[in-house]
Symmetry: C2
């Protein structure tokens, strides 16, 4: 029966891909608008694809080098020989998901604009379903690859003489997550730099210096700006969530195998996260088709329509996973409580994000108030709001960790406790297909708005896209909560997997004894004792400080990168205004693609160093301060990274919405001194919330994955 259940996940995954294709054809049949709209959409599409091609060229080189490195390491016996290949496929599918997502998004925006010309509901349908396509692509590919690798290694491998234990299989599969993480970091950092460089360039020269409105076709950077929304919000987010989704499932599988090795339930424990994710796809699909409003729907009714779908999927996943846990892991209903805890944590973190960043609440209103006193107080206040905003997420996640751990039997079997924590993350992300849709339709509507503006459509169209965009900000908060929470829980699970990998590495190298312990049967607690992974070990302490330091260096580099790239952009836009006569009069067309190229080049150049740091630092740390040092390093990067990520994302969001409050007419409205101050806050917040903040979330997991791969170096000392 369990073996039959195993086929459920790949089949559901293919179903997701099938429905993604179906929805894609549905979307493509929608009218694309007039010639002007098509032309603009085409320009954005060309720019976005040019960017992706350039980005992938560099990523391929990087992956090739890493592959060779891993291959050599595996030849030296430092790595399982499957790892280099699993690593490649993880990167490949992540890249593919980003590429397809981009194709969908760049085709959906003009259609959404055209839909909004008819009515709000048509606009919502097109943008929401396009978001759903991306969600289904991400979850479909993710679950398909995971289950396929599992079946290959478990059933096909033995046929060709590659027989591995369940633990070895699942630990090896983590390197699939490593590929996804590395590609996601490139996508987030590169996309983040591109989008903000283009944004700043368009705003500083176009809006401030030339005094033309946002998305004005006379602005040479305007196409780049819209391309940026796609490569940052769509491709970047796609790769990010793909990585989170796979990471949570893979880490749960790895721990499931280890935690239940002695109870004989290990196969079921590995199966459970795949099945929960499979069920999540099914219920999300139903939920997606539940979302539709009426032509006359108000914003509130639309919000309700969307929420209805999300709530349905969430409740169904809760009910059905209770059954699953009961059937697969009898006597361990605590695991189900973890899934419940995960959903609650995600929602609370999301709601707290909303509270601290939405213009409807005190903190952001306070920032708009501070703007009356000038830019400095705006910055100080926003920074304070962002810093304060960590408390609810940290308290909630901390409570969730303790709850999941102890409900999962951690007091008796620590690994089982961490498996339980990992399941929290899986539960949270199981409904990603629909959650992604609630996250992604906002950026699509934003792009549709750009299209409408540039094509000179009626004001009403722009109002409708703006309404969808702002609705998107509200529904996206929960998605963000899920991403942050699950990433954090996954990272914790990877901490333990690190020790397991160390053990496997020792066995692989025929080391059978560690001091007084036999490696074969060593428990996690004994590993901790042997490697002195405790707070009095100065190596661990130093590792923790180095982990925190890495977060700050990474933040500095990515912010600097935005500044540098924006500089190039500003110069290019100024050059075009100066050299191409007739731009301002509308008699000559600016060279849009030149701006796209500049931003692309800047992003590519600047993304390499931060990515290298995330990827290689664990190897260096391991070489110098050993196993305890690396675990300290991970603890430092997880705790400081999470705090900085929340602070930066929320400060950025709050500044953005404080500006919008003023633009709505409060404190003097647009062009007032307060507005100027709020614009400064918003500009500072841009790299905070769209480049550095979200990248940190990936850095945390990449570091953990990378530590696992390079564990051999940390063991050299012993």
């Amino acid at each position: 029966m369990e073996k039959l259940l195993l086929w459920f996940s790949p089949i559901v995954a293919m179903m997701a891909l099938f429905f993604a294709l179906k929805l894609y054809f549905w979307m493509m049949k929608k009218p694309e608008g007039n010639e002007k709209m098509k032309e603009i959409a085409e320009a954005v599409r060309v720019g976005a694809m040019a960017y992706l091609r350039q980005q992938y060229k560099i990523v391929i080189i990087f992956f090739a080098i890493a592959f060779v490195l891993f291959f050599v390491m595996s030849r030296m016996g430092l790595l399982n020989p499957i790892i280099p290949f699993a690593f490649l496929t993880g990167g490949f599918f992540s890249g593919l998901a980003g590429y397809l997502g981009m194709i969908v998004a760049t085709r959906a925006s003009s259609r959404t604009a055209e839909g909004c010309r008819q009515n709000l509901n048509e606009g919502l349908s097109i943008s929401f379903r396009s978001g759903a396509i991306m969600g289904l692509i991400v979850t479909g590919f993710g679950l398909f690859d995971i289950s396929l690798w599992f079946i290959l290694l478990k059933y096909v491998g033995p046929m060709i003489g590659l027989e591995y234990s369940l633990t070895e299989i699942t630990m090896t599969m983590l390197s699939f997550g490593m590929g996804a993480s590395l590609q996601a970091l490139f996508a987030r950092v590169g996309g983040g730099i591109f989008t903000k460089a283009a944004d700043v360039g368009a705003d500083l020269v176009g809006k401030v210096e030339a005094g033309i409105p946002e998305d004005d076709p006379r602005n040479p950077a305007t196409i780049a700006d819209n391309v940026g929304d796609n490569v940052g919000d769509v491709a970047g987010m796609g790769a990010d969530l793909y990585e989170s989704y796979c990471g949570s499932i893979l880490s749960a599988m790895a721990l499931g195998a280890v935690a239940n090795a002695s109870s004989g339930q290990s196969f079921n424990a590995v199966l459970l996260p795949m099945l929960i994710s499979g069920l999540g796809i099914v219920f999300s699909l139903i939920g997606i088709f539940m979302v539709h409003g009426k032509n006359s729907s108000s914003q509130k009714e639309l919000l309700f329509a969307i929420n209805k779908g999300v709530y349905f999927a969430s409740i169904m996943i809760l009910l059905s996973s209770a059954g699953l846990v009961y059937y697969l892991m009898p006597g361990n209903m605590g695991y189900w409580v973890s899934i419940l805890v995960g959903l609650i944590v995600g929602i609370v973190v999301g709601k707290s994000t909303e509270y601290y960043t939405s213009g409807d609440f005190g903190p952001t209103q306070g920032i708009s108030n501070s703007a009356k006193m000038g830019p400095a107080t705006t910055i100080i206040d926003g920074f304070a709001v962002g810093s304060m905003s960590v408390w609810i997420p940290i308290m909630t996640i901390s409570g969730g960790i303790l709850m999941s751990y102890y409900m999962g039997g951690g007091a008796v079997n620590p690994t089982s406790g961490f498996y339980s924590i990992a399941l929290s993350g899986v539960g949270m992300l199981s409904t990603l297909s629909i959650i992604f849709a609630t996250d992604a339709y906002g950026p699509i509507a934003d792009n549709a708005g750009g299209n409408a503006e540039m094509a000179g459509l009626d004001k009403e169209v722009r109002q409708r896209t703006d309404m969808l965009d702002s609705l998107g900000n509200t529904t996206a908060a929960i998605g963000k909560g899920y991403a942050v929470g699950s990433g954090f829980l996954t990272a914790l699970a990877l901490l333990v997997s690190y020790l397991e990998e160390a053990k496997m590495n020792l066995l692989h190298n025929n080391i059978t004894m560690l001091g007084d312990f036999a490696v074969e049967t060593i428990t996690m607690g004994q590993m901790v004792d042997h490697f002195e992974i405790n707070i009095l070990n100065p190596n661990m302490l130093v590792g923790t400080f180095l982990g925190g330091m890495t977060v700050f260096i990474f933040a500095a580099l990515t912010m600097k990168a935005v500044g540098k790239s924006a500089n190039y952009m500003v110069e290019e836009v100024r050059r075009q205004f100066r050299e191409i006569k007739g731009i301002m009069e509308g008699t000559a067309k600016p060279d849009y693609q030149a701006c796209v190229k500049i931003a692309t080049k800047g992003a590519q150049k600047e993304m390499i160093l931060p990515a290298m740091i995330g990827f290689l630092t664990p190897a260096v740390v391991g070489t110098f301060v050993g196993i305890a040092g690396v675990m300290g390093y991970l603890l430092g990067i997880i705790s400081t990274g999470l705090l900085m990520a929340i602070m930066m994302s929320n400060a950025g969001g709050a500044w953005d919405n404080a500006k919008k409050i003023i633009e709505s007419g409060v404190h003097g409205g647009k062009k007032s001194e307060a507005h100027k101050a709020a614009v400064v806050g918003d500009t500072v917040g841009d790299p905070f919330k769209d480049t550095t903040g979200p990248s940190l979330n990936i850095l945390i997991k990449l570091s953990a994955m990378s530590s696992i791969i390079f564990v051999g170096l940390a063991l050299l000392k012993f």
Copy 2:
């Protein structure tokens, strides 16, 4: 012989106080300048004393409550009965040092201004020696109190029936450091809020709105601004360094007793930090009297004169401590290496501070460049520079920790390794008397400049005070490096003391067995095992996250506090300009003291919550997640706190100097757009570098001290 040596420290401490008095009389004999200068100095003095009185009123209430709490706890057997009293004296002497320092500083400024009317060297002599007075007061009181308590508990106690072991004595004395830390936090936070509120108020309304220059007597906030420099830079810094000085000695003494308990060298190990500190005072005194220039000295020659004194004291302390270690701890010369390491770490961290914040180097020049593009890029760049600046300090401190630990025999005896780390901190701060002088003459010169400006003295006088001020910024960098480095090392030493206190607490409550271990002879490693203080314990993980969270909340609260208080100030200044006719024409005098009162009130109100958080959170964390949770909490607060403190201090310093670069005429000079942007950066940097950053440094140690006091609550779970 060792008992005779014991008397060395209190005698030297009294000598320090004697020379402080002597220098004070020397300074008081210097002419105070004309009537106008006296009047202004008097106004600043009155304001500063009014502030201190108000501050101490609140601190006394807080201490009274804490005393009662500790007294009750000691009655319940949760605390040693000496602790409440030791706690009080720590706070008392810290407050006294701040009070006396303020008396010195407010009397020195007009005399320095008058000195500068004669020549630069006279100005330097007065300001430097006044700084030295404060340094001698701090070290004199500190060492006197410590050695007195030690003699009391060790020799007088047994006479009246209070017999304690060496470990108990030194552990109890830590609560003396707790009193100093708590008072220091109040001084830093309160002073930091006051000075920045006054600064922002004076700048925003006076400079920007009314368009009058800095320190113009027509500005109602100008006296408050000068008072602020005293309460922030003088009283705040004094309390801060007093706390660091005592904390480093006390933590080394406590660990020395434990680490060498079995070798019979524990008495000598306790003596060593006191003796090093005593020698430090002697050599510093000689160094102080070595500092004098000629009337015709250039700035470079003056810098050399100051450095000569510092280098002399440092080299002598290195040489003599080698002899001391050789004599007291034969066979443990590794401890001496730690002292050397400490000095190197302090200097490297100081130099790195200089590199990242001085206008002579790339990072700050880069910020002034970014200012050309507006305030947003200025902020982003400064934030990036601050974040990047953590790398040298963290790498250096990490290397220093490992070096000290292993040289101190940590591989065999972990406690000895941590004792060695603590000695690094003691060595660093042993020359505090002269280091303090190099730190403090800058603010005195700054105040002298204010006095000169308000009294309408020759431009030349202001130029000379400015030169001293800027020279002070250079020499102060090393002092900052010492403060940050030693604070961090002390906090690490306190981590281990925490476990020792837990052990004593158990014994005190007649708990003799912990699982398989006898409490009496339990080692630190066994404590770690028993309480599972390792990375797989979710309580420890959660503690780490909570520690990091506390840093962010503390930062948010203190920054918000500056904003709020500045708001009151702005309104008051505006009110005076509006209601008191003739201010701008110079026919009516503004109400200076009203501004002082407003800033005082704001600071007092806003400092309470952050102080409470630092003081009480360890108790709450301990109650919920136990010993392992508290140790994780401390790890989180130490690592994240250190990173944030360095980032904020350096970003603030860099913004400040980037503004100064532009004011020197680059990028369009004063009143250019670039200058406006740089002013925004400077204003954001103010609370970063003068309120939150330095307060975090104290928060770290206060948390550790507070955890030690409340260890009984964390043990309730067991």
